[in-house]
């Protein structure tokens, strides 16, 4: 899934923002960007399911490459 930010600006001025497609702790790297995009400060945050997921690591290819290298 492509990396996205979904922003909702309420009629009373409140803003909610959600990152999508960004797994693990990397999502927290985007907090500063989001604040700059909307010129606002974060007052509350919640980690969602993706935060606890890790990005897929292609272990098999890496190991095979090392084996080939060592021959």
């Amino acid at each position: 899934m492509a990396k996205k930010i979904q922003v909702r600006i309420y009629p009373d001025g409140r803003i909610e923002a959600v990152t999508k497609g960004i797994k693990g702790k990397k999502c927290t790297n985007y907090i500063g960007l989001i604040e700059k995009l909307v010129n606002a400060e974060t007052v509350d945050s919640d980690y969602t399911e993706e935060y606890y997921e890790t990005e897929e690591v292609i272990v098999e290819e890496t190991v095979e490459a090392k084996i080939t290298e060592n021959r």
Binding site: A2, K3, K4, I5, Q6, V7, R8, I9, Y10, P11, D12, G13, R14, I15, E16, A17, V18, T19, K20, G21, I22, K23, G24, K26, C27, T28, Y30, I31, I34, E35, K36, L37, V38, N39, A40, E41, T42, V43, D44, S45, D46, Y47, T48, E49, E50, Y51
Partner: protein, 264 residues
């Protein structure tokens, strides 16, 4: 989804997010909402006008003129339209209005007897049998000078000045960082100790505060609407500057603006 944030624009006080919207809280303490048997905005306007009461949109609310300087707002709460009277409204005016509406509409508009009792108990100058004939009739409000001071939801002074001007209130710079606005027979002084601080308002009024509170509620609504627009415009600017793409944009039923920004 990975992280969900709640943010507050720099132009708004934190209390908005915490659900302790001060201006709204103060206004609502003085309110007596009467639930009406009217489903849609159009129905409210048409019914009131058919009964002889001019009604028009006022921000996110409707405003009905009762004549002689009296008026009240309508707001949709919990899916139903409510007429918002206040503790300062003279009971004869409210009773007369309700009686007139029921007669001219040919049906019961305000059904809840309990709410009508609340009007009787909380408003002053109860007089039995008063009939309201429409614009031109009415009673005077409370007397005596009153002063009140409380914090608002505003933090951006320039934005507040713009909102005041756009709503027919001409702000005067007092030269000490404060702004003064004359409204009816009241003087409102908006004070901000330092840029970015929450603005407080001091109100001095010769008569009751209801008119002032109602105008402030409108200013509060309008200010937040301007903030929403300001945030949106800023976001568009930032997206363009950073070479990002807005994949989707829509306005939701509650007038929220929902945007999806592609980061890749």
């Amino acid at each position: 989804m990975s992280i969900s944030l709640t943010l507050i624009p720099l132009a708004l006080a934190l209390t908005v997010v915490l659900g302790k919207d001060r201006t709204t809280e103060i206004v609502r303490q003085k309110e007596i909402p009467l639930k009406a048997n009217l489903a849609e905005e159009k129905e409210v306007i048409e019914t009131m006008q058919r009964c002889g009461f001019q009604t028009e949109k006022a921000g996110s609310r409707l405003k009905t003129e009762l004549g002689d300087g009296h008026f009240f707002f309508w707001e949709k709460r919990g899916g139903a339209w409510h007429a918002l009277f206040s503790v300062y409204d003279p009971a004869p005016v409210v009773h007369g209005f309700m009686k007139t509406v029921h007669e001219r509409a040919g049906r019961i508009i305000f059904e809840d007897a309990g709410e009508q009792t609340a009007v009787e108990e909380r408003t002053e100058g109860i007089e039995a049998g008063h009939e309201f004939h429409g614009p031109g009739a009415g009673t005077s409000g409370l007397g005596g000078e009153k002063t009140a001071s409380f914090q608002t939801n505003f933090r951006d002074r320039a934005l507040l000045e713009q909102v005041l001007r756009d709503n027919g209130m001409e702000p005067v710079d007092l030269g000490d960082g404060n702004i003064k606005v004359e409204l009816a027979d009241a003087a409102l002084i908006f004070k901000q100790e330092a840029p970015g601080d929450t603005i407080t308002v001091e109100i001095s009024s010769e008569t009751d505060m209801r008119t002032i509170f109602r105008h402030l509620a409108i200013v509060d609504d309008e200010y937040k609407r301007y903030v929403q627009n300001q945030v949106y415009e800023h976001l568009l600017q930032q997206v363009e500057q950073r070479g990002l793409v807005i994949e989707q944009e829509e306005v939701l039923d509650d007038h929220s603006i929902l945007l999806t920004i592609n980061l890749e």
